[in-house]
């Protein structure tokens, strides 16, 4: 007899028992319901959170980014302050020439916060002088049709071109005006818009319309800013060759520590031993994110595992009670020709039916929980941390509940299978 032919009546029988003992079955399911609901909701929310972490770190340049910033001299070197030249383009050449681990170097000059104006429309934003390498280091790009970024020629000729962040473009230009080729005033000086930087929009986080000035979330700053050639910035605005910082990108994240050491040694040498810079990476941020992630996974996963375990015990308990009540039925079935394996299958199927139903109810509860958490999060934070239910996670949750049900059903089913038919028939 094919297994399906044996399973079908067993499953029908299981459903019937369930229907006959509705309250008891629901109670026995409650553990599974809670377990699956918490498991699915937990994984979904943690996954949404992790997605946000990853995106956040990525938006900061990712794990392969090393930031070098200018910094005041430490106390013991303070008396040498006049010898400090700060970070300059000579450092850039030196690093480029001596440290092959560094793939891109982006020298940056923060001109500062200032207003940019186009035909009476004004926006206040950060003006940054940079080079073509800014794009790979910051993991940014320019979408097709949105113009170009700063070129080597711009650096060489100190041209007056500007690239706008998407939110600045939205603030400065009406929707029907193409910003490309327009002349705007940056800190009073005329610049031609040649490109628009890509808009950062996370799957996990949604940036609200750039038009609403008061709105925008914690990520809005990533879409603001205007970018000009670094040489233009030093000659037109700052008047000296000091850089505010360097953005470095390494080829392989595994070389991070080597690269940091090499950059530090190279810069100390260039700066005559003066520690007037600070080197930082995103590694710590990522590490702390990872720790938070695993802490969440462990604690919530533990809760889900415990409730699934309890759910399993609940099913086992109800199955044992049900078998105890139906000893005579087991005797009758055996007397008319049921083998031990038939009864084993029957009671295992009953446990599976309970757990599958519990799992399905648990899934619908988890949908509610995730919806509720999304609602609370959107109320609490102006951004929308949207955790979306993944059918894979739901399938896993259901799979877990089935496994728990089957494991919990094995022992009671074995007991039923092993009952002696004569004894069972005598049972009152």
């Amino acid at each position: 007899m094919r297994i399906f032919d044996r399973l079908r009546p067993a499953v029908i029988n299981g459903l019937r028992e369930l229907q006959a003992n509705k309250v008891r079955s629901l109670l026995s399911m409650s553990g599974i319901i809670l377990g699956v609901a918490s498991l699915v909701a937990m994984v979904t929310v943690v996954q949404g959170m992790v997605g946000n972490f990853r995106q956040f770190v990525d938006a900061m340049g990712g794990i392969e980014k090393i930031a070098v910033d200018r910094q005041a001299l430490p106390k013991e070197q303070e008396h040498l302050a006049e010898l400090s030249e700060g970070i300059t383009l000579r450092d850039v050449d030196q690093i480029r020439a001596t440290i092959p681990l560094i793939r891109n170097i982006s020298p940056e000059v923060r001109v500062g916060w200032s207003s940019v104006v186009y035909e009476g429309r004004e926006a206040v934003t950060l003006i940054l002088g940079c080079t073509p390498d800014y794009l790979p280091v910051a993991k940014r790009w320019i979408d097709p049709g949105q113009g170009r970024f700063i070129s080597d020629l711009d650096i060489l000729h100190r041209t007056d071109v500007v690239i706008l962040g998407s939110s600045i473009a939205a603030d400065l230009f009406p929707p029907n005006v193409d910003p490309l080729g327009k002349v705007i005033r940056v800190k009073g000086k005329r610049f031609t818009v040649v490109g628009l930087l890509n808009n950062i929009e996370g799957a996990g986080m949604q940036i609200r319309s750039g038009n609403s000035k008061g709105g925008g979330g914690m990520w809005r700053w990533r879409n603001s800013g205007v970018f000009i050639p670094v040489t233009t910035a030093t000659s037109k605005f700052t008047g000296n060759d000091h850089l505010t910082g360097l953005g470095l990108r390494i080829a392989d994240a595994n070389d991070l520590q080597h690269a940091v050491d090499q950059v530090e040694r190279s810069l100390l040498q260039m700066h005559h031993g003066l520690k007037d810079f600070n080197i930082s990476t995103n590694e710590e941020t990522l590490e702390s994110f990872k720790k938070t992630e695993s802490a969440f996974k462990l604690s919530l996963g533990g809760v889900a595992a415990i409730s699934l375990f309890i759910g399993g015990i609940g099913i086992m308990n109800v199955m044992l009670a049900s078998i105890n009540e139906r000893i005579r039925e087991i005797g009758v079935r055996k007397a008319v020709g049921a083998r031990g394996s038939d009864l084993f299958l029957q009671f295992l199927a009953e446990a599976a039916v309970i757990s599958v139903l519990g799992g399905v109810i648990g899934l619908s509860v988890s949908i509610g929980i995730v919806w509720l958490m999304n609602y609370i999060l959107t109320q609490a934070i102006p951004t929308q941390a949207v955790a979306t239910l993944d059918w894979k996670i739901m399938a896993q949750g259901l799979g877990f509940s089935v496994i728990v049900g089957l494991v919990a059903g094995v022992y009671p089913a074995l007991r039923a299978a092993k009952l002696d038919p004569i004894e069972a028939l005598r049972h009152e």
């Binding site: 007899m1 032919d5 009546p9 019937r16 028992e17 006959a20 005579r328 039925e329 005797g331 009758v332 079935r333 055996k334 007397a335 008319v336 020709g337 049921a338 083998r339 031990g340 394996s341 038939d342 038919p421 004569i422 028939l425």
Partner: protein, 228 residues
């Protein structure tokens, strides 16, 4: 009618604590096809044990049983289950119908456990068996909706649905009123015409009197084997 069962030197011993109880103590019997046999005896005489062993629910401690030409005294559990679903039927004193199943499903139950189980064929066979016992008007009823006599007729339908060689009836009329006793016994008697051997286990002499052969048992032995 050829020989159906040949029993030689059948022993069954139980251990109850330190004591060994010989429920069957050397039983030799032969049953033919289509026989109507009553096994009489007080409780503890071994008649139930004999029925359980012949009905493939239990195994003897020693001795030989040739059933339809095959030695069956030491079959494994699954093989005995096969014989129960294919070769024998049981009728119990307390009917033993499953309360959650309909009459039709109760009757079809033995067929469910067969190798070649097929839903439609099972149902057809169950309907036929219910017709045979005059219960085809109650197919979708639950056992609790039936009278005692009706329940026992359904139980007989269940016993014969698999076209068995032997039907065992264990005090089949013990829970019935006088009016229904005759009906049930008539029904059991009518099975002989189909070549079924009917073995009624009872201590009611009136019930035993219907049989053509009465085997009296006492202390695990056949005391008397009388044909009438």
């Amino acid at each position: 009618m050829g020989s159906l069962v040949t029993i030689r030197g059948l022993h069954k011993a139980y251990h109850m604590g330190d004591e060994t109880v010989h429920a069957l103590d050397g039983v030799d019997l032969d049953f033919d096809r289509g026989e109507y046999i009553a096994i009489l005896g007080p409780s503890g005489s071994g008649k139930s044990t004999l029925m359980h062993i012949l009905g493939f629910m239990d195994q003897p401690t020693s001795g030989s049983i040739i059933f339809e030409g095959e030695e069956v005294s030491s079959l494994g559990a699954d093989r005995r289950a096969w014989y129960r679903s294919n070769r024998v039927g049981f009728v119990f004193q307390s009917f033993n119908l499953l309360p959650r199943l309909t009459v039709l499903e109760n009757v079809a139950l033995p067929l469910l456990y067969r190798e070649d189980s097929d839903r439609e064929a099972n149902e057809a066979a169950a309907k036929h068996a219910l017709e045979r016992v005059g219960m085809s008007h109650r197919l979708e009823h639950r056992p609790s909706q039936l009278s005692g006599g009706e329940r026992q007729r359904v139980a007989i339908a269940r016993a014969i649905v698999g076209k068995p060689s032997i039907v065992f009836a264990d005090e089949p009329t013990g829970n019935l009123d006088v009016k229904n006793v005759d009906r049930i016994l008539d029904l059991l008697g009518s099975l002989l015409a189909e070549g079924i051997t009917v073995i009624v286990v009872t201590h009611d002499l009136g019930v035993a009197a219907r049989a053509r052969r009465i085997i009296s048992m006492r202390a695990g032995k056949v005391q008397e084997d009388r044909r009438q």
